[in-house]
């Protein structure tokens, strides 16, 4: 589950991680009040207005309805704030990560400007924490090249990326925090602040059950403060059971509405762009079924895992969700019945089909495993326009026929 920047910063504060101060608002009037507050607190007329969406590249991104307006703007007056807030709120931000459709912006963060002058040089670093699957432990990845696309840095100058692995079950050790601060080339106050920053940041990563935490830029101000200017945070959904307050931070407006609905039926659904819908039990078989659709000349319209309990209710919910997609020209149901009996699933398909009425596209049902023959008989005798298969290769052939008939 992804969080917005303003939410992530709120959470980091709980762990004593210094962040750029800001106020998240949904209305232009509130943005003006937020600006007044920020200007008073910081003693500077400079501030930053940032669109809050679940995608990166906001600074270079542009609003669809107002192409002169970027997703992040520096402001220095109330007039600026009004103009920028009007340009962003309610409009659609297109960035390199959103795709052409872009994302509607419902919230902006009015934040303190950190790039003020002072006795020392300002610096931007990069730091992220994530799971290293191969090493089976968490890793802190960091670079002196902050504020840039880290994948570019990794590709062109891999020597500028450092990694620090953390022993499972232990906090970040002091020597590791020092190593990171030294590698950033810091000394004095900035060094001490960085040691504290990364130690607390790792505690936040573990304490919040993050799946990833990225600070880019990680900023050293001209007065040697170490601050998270931006923050991308992903949470481990499996751990939300022990963080009910974090579960409440989910912003469903950032997700595909059909995927949200599928979640309410306990179906695991991912929308894709193809023309053949599918409904499968088990994630691996579901992916394999998508691949088979492609090999048969179609394109999968979705990933849909109905899980261990394929019954009339789940099948009906699956049908409803797949049929919402106007691109779907055929549906393949692929159930390998083990503990679930195929004849029960077949009865469920027939019931759901009858209940939904006019389904005008070919439905192919492949049921294999416990009671597969009885299931096929049920489908054949139902008189419905449903084609039945037992072998996976038969199902593939039927998909091919359906696709080429279109």
């Amino acid at each position: 589950m992804n969080l917005h920047e303003y939410q992530a910063k709120e959470l980091l504060k709980r762990y004593g991680v210094p962040t750029q101060e800001g106020i998240a608002v949904e209305k232009v009037d509130d943005a003006l009040n937020a600006y007044k507050q920020i200007a008073t607190d910081s003693g500077s007329k400079f501030a930053v207005v940032k669109a809050q969406i679940h995608a990166g590249g906001r600074g270079k991104g542009r609003m669809k309805e107002a192409p002169d307006q970027a997703g992040v703007s520096v402001v220095k007056s109330a007039e600026d704030v009004e103009r920028v807030a009007k340009g962003i709120l309610g409009n659609t931000l297109v960035t390199i990560q959103t795709g052409e459709a872009g994302k509607k912006v419902n919230k902006i963060l009015v934040a303190q400007d950190m790039y003020y002058d002072g006795p020392s040089e300002r610096k931007e670093f990069y730091l992220s924490i994530l799971l290293d699957r191969a090493e089976k432990r968490n890793v802190i990845m960091y670079s002196t090249e902050g504020g840039m696309d880290i994948e570019e840095v990794a590709h062109h100058t891999p020597e500028k990326i450092f990694k620090e692995w953390i022993h499972p079950g232990m906090p970040l050790q002091a020597f590791q925090a020092r190593k990171i601060a030294f590698n950033f080339g810091l000394s004095g106050e900035a060094f001490k602040n960085m040691v504290k920053f990364v130690t607390n940041l790792y505690n936040a990563y573990v304490g919040l059950d993050c799946s990833m935490l990225e600070i880019n830029p990680l900023f050293k101000s001209a007065d040697d403060k170490i601050i998270a200017v931006d923050c991308k945070m992903g949470l481990d959904e499996n751990a939300l059971m022990r963080h009910p307050d974090l579960a409440d931070m989910r912003d469903k407006s950032e997700e595909d509405p059909t995927e949200v609905e599928a979640g309410e039926y306990n179906l695991n659904y991912v929308k894709l762009d193809g023309n053949v819908g599918c409904m499968v039990n088990g994630a691996g078989l579901a992916m394999a079924t998508m691949d088979m659709i492609k090999l048969a000349g179609g394109e999968p319209a979705n990933f849909l895992d109905v899980g261990g309990s394929a019954n009339a209710q789940t099948v009906e919910a699956g049908f409803r969700i797949i049929l919402k997609d106007p691109n779907v020209k055929a549906i393949l149901i692929n159930i390998f019945g083990g503990i679930v009996r195929c004849d029960r699933v077949a009865a469920g398909v027939i019931e759901a089909y009858n209940k939904l009425g006019n389904i005008n596209i070919p439905i192919i049902v492949r049921l294999q495993g416990t009671n597969a023959e009885q299931a096929k008989e049920l489908i054949v005798n139902s008189g419905l326009k449903v084609q039945s298969a037992i072998l996976l290769s038969e199902a593939a052939q039927l998909v091919q026929d359906a696709v080429s008939a279109n």
Partner: protein
């Protein structure tokens, strides 16, 4: 002998008296697995499915000589159950539970490191040695006895592969569901190695999916150790990058963990890679026939 579990395995069920534990323990007993008891903290001393219930895994091991454990404990407590089993001296720990927080598994994986035990899973269908012991949730009747081993990250895709192998005139020695989570106890390479060294296995089906580097690691090992034919399939050739496809670990993170990249390296290392999941069984039959000729 086959690998990991056989008719001599003495199996306990952790989370024995819960709904899942009860259902699957009954199924395992019906299959003929030697289930010697179970563990549910606070219910020690009771009898369930005509088997003794213990408060701790240690008690169960002392009383029954159990050497294999299967875990049906809810996600919040499952990593703890893995550590408890390892601490009590269980040799093969099979964790079925799906949805364990990843940081819990990072800790549990480290805890069992260096202990004389092997963890299978979590988020897996378990292990079955056809005709001998089923320690898992798979439909046992599909796995007709034979000489083909299966290693797979996925449940129903394992059943699919087993069914095709049987329909193509062969049978199964041991099928190992290694699990679909980002952190698992036994890697693809380790499971393949077990089967490569098993005198009762003549060929191996290796089923992977997008995400992680385990298939590539197995392929590189196989390049120098291919003493039996291996047929491989990778699920998720059509999966978009950055989206999690059901399994917690099934997510394309970069260029190396796509299905295409995995299939390429597997092919280069001598694995018979099939594009279509419908061709697993018949490819294995063809490859074995060619070897014999």
């Amino acid at each position: 002998m086959s690998v990991l579990v056989n008719k001599n395995s003495r199996v306990i069920v952790q989370g024995f008296t819960g709904t899942e534990g009860t259902f699957h323990a009954s199924q395992m007993i019906e299959f003929g697995t030697n289930v010697v008891g179970g563990v549910t903290p606070g219910k020690g001393g009771q009898t369930h499915l005509e088997k003794p219930v213990f408060n701790t895994v240690r008690d169960a091991v002392v009383a029954t000589g159990a050497d294999v454990s299967i875990i049906f404990v809810p996600p919040a407590f499952a990593a703890d159950s893995v550590m408890e089993a390892a601490d009590a001296g269980i040799k093969v720990i099979i964790c079925i539970t799906e949805g364990i927080p990843v940081q819990d598994m990072v800790k549990a994986r480290e805890y069992i490191n260096g202990k004389d035990c092997r963890l299978i899973g979590p988020n897996c269908p378990g292990v079955i040695t056809a005709g001998e012991a089923k320690v898992g949730i798979m439909p046992g009747f599909i796995f007709k006895q034979g000489r083909i081993g299966i290693v797979s990250k996925s449940g129903t895709l394992t059943y699919e592969a087993a069914d095709q192998v049987v329909k193509a005139g062969m049978g199964i020695s041991t099928a190992i569901g290694i699990g679909g989570d980002p952190i698992i106890g036994t890697t693809t390479k380790e499971a393949v190695e077990l089967l490569m060294n098993d005198p009762e296995t003549d060929g191996i089906v290796m089923i992977g999916e997008i995400g992680g580097n385990m298939e590539a690691e197995a392929a590189k090992w196989l390049k120098d150790n291919m003493r039996k034919p291996v047929v491989g399939f990778i699920a998720g050739q059509t999966a978009p990058p950055g989206r999690r496809m059901g399994h917690a670990g099934a997510i394309i993170g970069g260029a190396d963990d796509t299905a295409a990249a995995k299939m390429k390296i597997m092919g280069e290392c001598g694995i018979h890679v099939v594009e279509s999941p419908a061709n697993i069984g018949k490819t294995m039959a063809a490859v074995l026939q060619k070897e014999m000729a």
